[in-house]
Symmetry: C2
Subunit: 333 residues, 2 copies
């Protein structure tokens, strides 16, 4: 099941993602690849997956970027199935598994980037699944690999394991108490990056952060996962402590209840306001301050109210979207 | 019944007040009166009312300012039964009728000021009632009266009829569309004043305004009432027109719904925020935008959430009051 709909008992860790960057040894990297070369890479990877006969690969469907509307591409990126950069262009395509927890982007920055996203804190499981899909593909293609450096990638920062493991955390209490800068800089000294919801350079809308490894060279996949697990556990503890301190703060409870009132009755709600309000209501529910039975998992409302996911094929103006978003929130909160 | 609890089908006109300023001919005005003189005035007026034998006067109870706590005095002024100035001091007293629609302040600016407050738009009824009470008092005392000027008062602006007739109007649409300054200045050219909730110099909390006559000299009581009725009717029409124009405005509806959400769920609410939110919810309900069944008349919540009325004898800190106010609003909206 797609990450945001999965049952998840962890209040703070929303999802886990493992991404492997791979390139075929026969072709130049995508930025230097001819159109013909692109088609060949696409075909080789597609066939490697779809014709593998593996049950794992059975559920994949291919989507060519040039055949999708801008809204359809944006909806895929809102669900984190393709990158924002890929959604902006017409190049390449993606293989996406039926339950939307596996996707393989082709001809983004690298020939292929395969990723597994699971709900909750499941780094090892995601890595094992990524490794299996990687093995299926490698049965049919030769990866660009150096004994000295490991997997070769278009950008040297990914060379080595080619792996980026990341964990999406909901950190409203650390954010509200202005502790995120401290967290971000201490994670950085440990070789990890803490970024906003949509990765590099994006804002932490809805107080959602991605914690991921910076280093991929001279370190094994297991070491990356271990160090990430360790730091994520520490950040989780800090968030819990921050929540504990806010527990008796009545002005804070008032703020959360007001967010709930707005979410429940507002008629026109922007995407960023929706995320900010949902974040506060999730926090209130997690802390036992707001006692409600919502119809949809609140975290999934953050994705369902994203512009393209919300439109779901309809063509709406921004104002019409803000109204539809308000409606969806009122019906489900 | 006290004005704000009365059944009132007028969406815009909240209450009607007629006040008569009177002085006894035997004594100097209060600002020049000895303590002994004050006691005599108090006794004469009190006896004139309480010993009159009139059924109208039967229901009055006397409250000496010096025997009331500051909170008790403030609560009376929040209900408009005594003036804010009187509530601040220890001088004089007030006769208040059981159903709290009649009150007689003694030794405020004048020897006595008798007022009638009724819910809704009932100027003539209020004036007739005021006239009756005035006659009852005049059976036992001699008023300071000049054939040339009429009733003599401490401040010359009240000399003549000694009457101030005022109508409290709820004008949120004119306020939100920034039309109140125009209304205030055109009322002024017609000899009328438009002021905030608590009269002279006060802000229009909750978008409540008092429209009253400025002139009391050279004009009869009937003429004052007629001209006030006329202007109030015009302002009412302007408010209706402003509401009509806002009817299809979705951002405006959104604003009202958000106010409702906050009122329904906030935990800590100040007195001025409460009035602003209640005003918006009343407007939403009047305009058929917000469809709710509240437990108490919303306008009465404006008074019930005033600091002293809210405390109702309890001693609370401002924060405790803000919490109690939130509770009261949540329970009744």
């Amino acid at each position: 099941m797609i990450w945001y709909k999965e049952q998840n008992d962890n209040d703070i860790i929303v999802s886990t993602r493992v991404r492997l960057a791979r390139n075929l040894d026969k072709y130049p990297f995508p930025n230097r690849l001819s159109e013909e070369g692109c088609q060949k890479v696409l075909d080789e990877v597609k066939n490697a997956v779809l014709n593998s006969g593996s049950t794992l690969a059975n559920s994949f469907t291919f989507k060519a970027m040039k055949e999708l509307t801008p809204d359809e591409k944006q909806a895929l990126s809102e669900k984190h199935l393709i990158s924002i950069e890929m959604a902006k262009g017409d190049r390449g395509g993606a293989l996406i598994s039926e339950d939307e927890n596996m996707s393989i982007m082709m001809l983004e920055e690298d020939h292929l980037r395969l990723q597994i996203i699971l709900g909750g804190f499941r780094l090892k499981e995601a890595w094992e699944l990524a490794d299996k899909v990687d093995n299926v593909i490698e049965e049919s293609v030769n990866y660009a690999f150096s004994e000295e450096f490991g997997y070769l990638t278009a950008c040297p920062t990914n060379t080595g394991t080619g792996m980026r493991a990341s964990v999406m955390m909901h950190l409203p209490a650390l954010t509200m108490t202005n502790n995120m800068n401290k967290i971000i800089s201490s994670a950085s000294t440990l070789g990890l990056t803490v970024r906003g919801l949509y990765g590099e350079g994006s804002k932490a809308y809805g107080n959602l952060y991605q914690v991921s490894n910076q280093v991929t060279l001279g370190i094994s996949e297991e070491e990356i996962i271990e160090s990430l697990e360790n730091i994520v556990g520490q950040i989780e503890k800090h968030e819990k402590d921050a929540r504990e301190k806010l527990k008796e703060n009545e002005e804070f409870a008032d703020k959360l209840w007001r967010a709930y009132g707005t979410l429940k009755f507002a008629r026109i709600v922007s995407s960023s306001e929706a995320k900010a309000l949902i974040s506060q209501v999730i926090l209130g529910k997690n802390m036992g301050i707001i006692d409600i039975e919502e119809k949809l998992p609140l975290i999934s409302l953050m994705v369902e109210t994203e512009p393209a996911t919300l439109m779901n094929g309809e063509k709406l103006t921004p104002t019409e979207r803000d109204k539809k978003r308000g409606e969806l929130l009122r019906e489900n909160v």
